[in-house]
């Protein structure tokens, strides 16, 4: 066990995957000499060479599209998209190509690529640097989307994503890159089932569901609630596509009250699918409607007002109050 920031944990996970399998490659803008704008690939080019840690031209479709081709050649490319807001030029390659290859070819051709995508707000930056685009990807059969909330999870998920035979987007909560430190087991399994949610706090009265950067907010809310005499269970989804419904539904049935939180806007967000499914599956168990605490229904705002946009502990508590009042 070592103490690592989330950034260093991802670096370590990447390095381990590259070490263990020389088919693993990295490609992206500025990931070579610069080590990426967040320094996630820091030192990897020196260690594994420029052929395996490739600075790419400034073209997101190019990065993902060539990664698909390299995967068809037997490589396991890990793409870095520089910021959340810049993934859209690659959209066709992700949605229409990588995610469907297995289906359209009845398993003849697959695209086991990984797309690392820093996301999330409250980072005090300019436009397109604080967004949460996950809802644009979740409607896609064939695409896995995972996101860690701790350095240990980040270390595991990046390796498991690389080991996965499916295309995987790893949403990296950039706010936590350098701010969150935690214990990491460097011998943790490098492969395994990617769609396992985790109950990170047990409780009985209300279930708080979130992922990535929201998990610590939910845990903090749960602590406040505990002080106030309420018992909240917190579920870290870890995989937002597919969702681990068994874990989610079990918690919902247990507590009868569910709050889902994410930074992306409410409309058609991940919370919508969670609420829709939970109310369908746990109808009689619910004491209150599933409530959503989300980014506002507007594009990500200028950073000086972003704390009013990103769900806060207070807003979670407000929703819990509402749920408990039913």
């Amino acid at each position: 066990m070592v103490q690592l920031t989330m950034a260093k944990a991802i670096t370590a996970g990447l390095a381990r995957a590259m070490d263990r399998n020389d088919k693993v490659l990295a490609i992206g803008q500025d990931i070579g000499r610069l080590g990426g704008v967040f320094r996630i690939t820091d030192g990897l080019q020196e260690r594994f060479g420029a052929a395996r840690v490739m600075d790419s031209p400034l073209a997101e479709a190019g990065i993902v599209g060539t990664a698909i081709g390299m995967a068809q050649r037997g490589y396991l490319p890990v793409c870095e998209i520089q910021f959340d807001g810049f993934v859209f030029p690659a959209f066709d390659q992700i949605i229409n190509q990588a995610s469907r290859l297995r289906f359209r070819t009845q398993g003849q051709v697959t695209a086991p690529i990984v797309i690392r995508l820093p996301y999330g707000g409250n980072v005090g930056s300019i436009e397109h640097h604080g967004e949460s685009p996950e809802a644009y990807f979740t409607p896609t059969p064939g695409l896995r989307i995972v996101t860690p909330s701790t350095p240990a999870d980040a270390y595991e998920l990046i390796q498991q994503a690389i080991a996965s035979p499916d295309p995987v987007i790893v949403l990296e909560p950039k706010r936590l890159y350098h701010s969150l430190k935690g214990e990491v087991d460097l011998d943790a399994p490098a492969s395994g089932e990617l769609d396992r949610a985790r109950v990170v706090r047990l409780g009985t009265e209300v279930t708080l569901i979130g992922y990535g950067p929201m998990v610590s907010t939910l845990l903090n809310a749960a602590k406040v609630l505990a002080d106030e005499g309420h018992s909240a269970e917190v579920v870290d989804l870890r995989s937002i596509a597919p969702v681990d419904w068994a874990t989610v539904e079990a918690s919902a049935r247990k507590t009868g009250r569910v709050i889902v939180a994410h930074e992306a806007p409410r409309t058609s967000g991940v919370g919508a699918e969670l609420a829709a499914r939970i109310q369908e599956r746990c109808f009689f168990a619910l004491e209150a409607p599933v409530l959503r605490v989300t980014g506002l229904d507007m594009p990500y705002p200028p950073s000086r007002v972003e704390t009013d946009y990103v769900p806060s502990v207070d807003r979670v508590l407000q929703a819990v109050d509402r749920a408990l009042a039913y």
Partner: protein, 406 residues
């Protein structure tokens, strides 16, 4: 798929040649010179389509009358026997292409995208590859499919709505059809980057149309290929149209010119001239194998038929124009050359009979095609179905069984 009459391919390529007969007696230059090339003689008052206004040379080794043309850089590389093999594939592909249109007209296919007229571009190019080289087709490469020994039924399966795009890519080194125009070019470049990483002695041929060159993904592919010196040949079959849009409205810089701007050679070739396409692609393949990176080959050809059976070309082009290009039919030209080089009637008669038998067999097999049940398709969404998928599959299975019970 192992029906008795299934298609047996004729592989024509450097690593799998026919008997060692002398190559065609087309005069060859001893090396690059600045000679002006023999111009193509127009067969009509309408300017021939390859008299392009942009001043880019069109490599031609056999003119529309099947007369050999001297070229400073390129010379024919195919033996009479190889040409016979190539012609046979071209001929049979056209026969099946016609069958595709017929089947669609009879309501047996959802759609058919005729390749008539583009056979020389396709076979000339693929014949310059080794069977181990990879091909990324677009969606019109029936002749290439047959060249690589794939059962052409696979294409009919797609067009009947039985499958999306399914065949054994690894066995045939032939990628699946791509329906999102241009997207496959980036994947082909990535594959080529993989070849370089492997240090393998292979190349990639990727097919695209004149219209496809407008897609941003294609420009990105050209750039990535150049930057990473990927061993990729971009074969642009410039058939003069993207559905109804003629090249004059598609671009002002032709594909062959585009290439230079991305730092790779661009060569324009008469796409209805089997010898020229083969020679130009062979040269590009050599460059790629030698580690000199990508080349773009613009094969000037013509889609004699409609864009697809859903299309109506009378809306956007004239009969006159069709006639000009019709006179440049690559099958006619190649047949003429073969006849002039000692190929007898019997060869052509046999081929026609073989084509009819193939078509009859294929038609029967097409009509017998049945899709996989929808619930089987859950297999292919993820490597392992998620719990939710497995559950949905059960529900759908039960639901469909219930329907049948009614």
């Amino acid at each position: 798929m192992t029906a008795p009459n299934a298609w047996t391919p004729r592989i024509v390529g450097p690593d799998n040649q026919g008997p060692d007969v002398p190559t065609a007696d087309v005069p060859t230059a001893d090396g690059p010179t600045l000679d002006v090339l023999t111009p193509d003689v127009a067969t009509s008052e309408v300017p021939t389509p390859d008299e392009q206004a942009d001043g880019i040379e069109t490599v031609q080794l056999l003119d529309a009358e099947a007369h050999p043309q001297r070229h400073a850089t390129y010379s024919p590389q195919l033996s009479v026997d190889e040409v016979r093999h190539a012609y046979a594939t071209m001929f049979l592909a056209r026969r099946l292409d016609t069958e595709g249109t017929n089947l669609q007209r009879q309501g047996q296919l959802a759609l058919w995208a005729p390749a008539k007229g583009q056979e020389a571009a396709q076979i000339g190019a693929i014949a310059a590859l080794r069977p181990t080289d990879m091909v990324y087709p677009s969606y019109r490469e029936l002749a290439m499919v047959m060249h690589r020994g794939l059962d052409p039924l696979a294409v009919f399966q797609i067009m009947r709505g039985i499958t999306h795009a399914t065949w054994d890519v690894e066995a045939h080194r032939f990628g699946v059809f791509a329906f999102v125009v241009g997207a496959q070019t980036l994947q082909a470049v990535g594959y080529g980057m993989g070849i370089t990483l492997d240090g393998a002695d292979e190349v990639v041929l990727v097919c695209l149309g004149d219209g496809a060159t407008s897609e941003g993904h294609v420009s990105e592919a050209l750039n990535f290929a150049a930057v990473y010196k990927a061993p990729v040949i971009f074969l642009v079959q410039n058939n003069q149209y993207a559905i109804s849009v003629p090249t004059a409205q598609q671009f002002r810089g032709a594909p062959a010119a585009r290439a230079g701007g991305f730092g790779m050679p661009g060569v324009r070739v008469d796409g209805n001239d089997l010898f020229a396409v083969h020679a130009v692609v062979a040269e590009a393949v050599s460059r790629a194998r030698a580690g000199e990176g990508p080349t773009l080959v613009e094969a000037m050809t013509y889609r004699i038929g409609a864009h697809t059976t859903a299309d109506d070309p009378t809306r956007y082009r004239s009969r006159e124009e069709e006639d000009v290009w019709g006179a440049r039919d690559p099958l006619v030209r190649t047949e003429r050359w073969l006849r002039e080089h000692g190929t007898e009637d019997g060869f052509f008669a046999d081929l026609a009979a073989e084509g009819d038998a193939l078509a009859t067999d294929l038609r029967a097999r097409v009509l017998a095609l049945e899709p996989q049940g929808i619930t089987d398709l859950y297999e292919y969404v993820l490597a392992e179905p998620s719990a939710a998928l497995a559950e949905e599959r059960e529900q759908v299975t039960a639901y469909l069984a219930g329907l049948e019970g009614r």
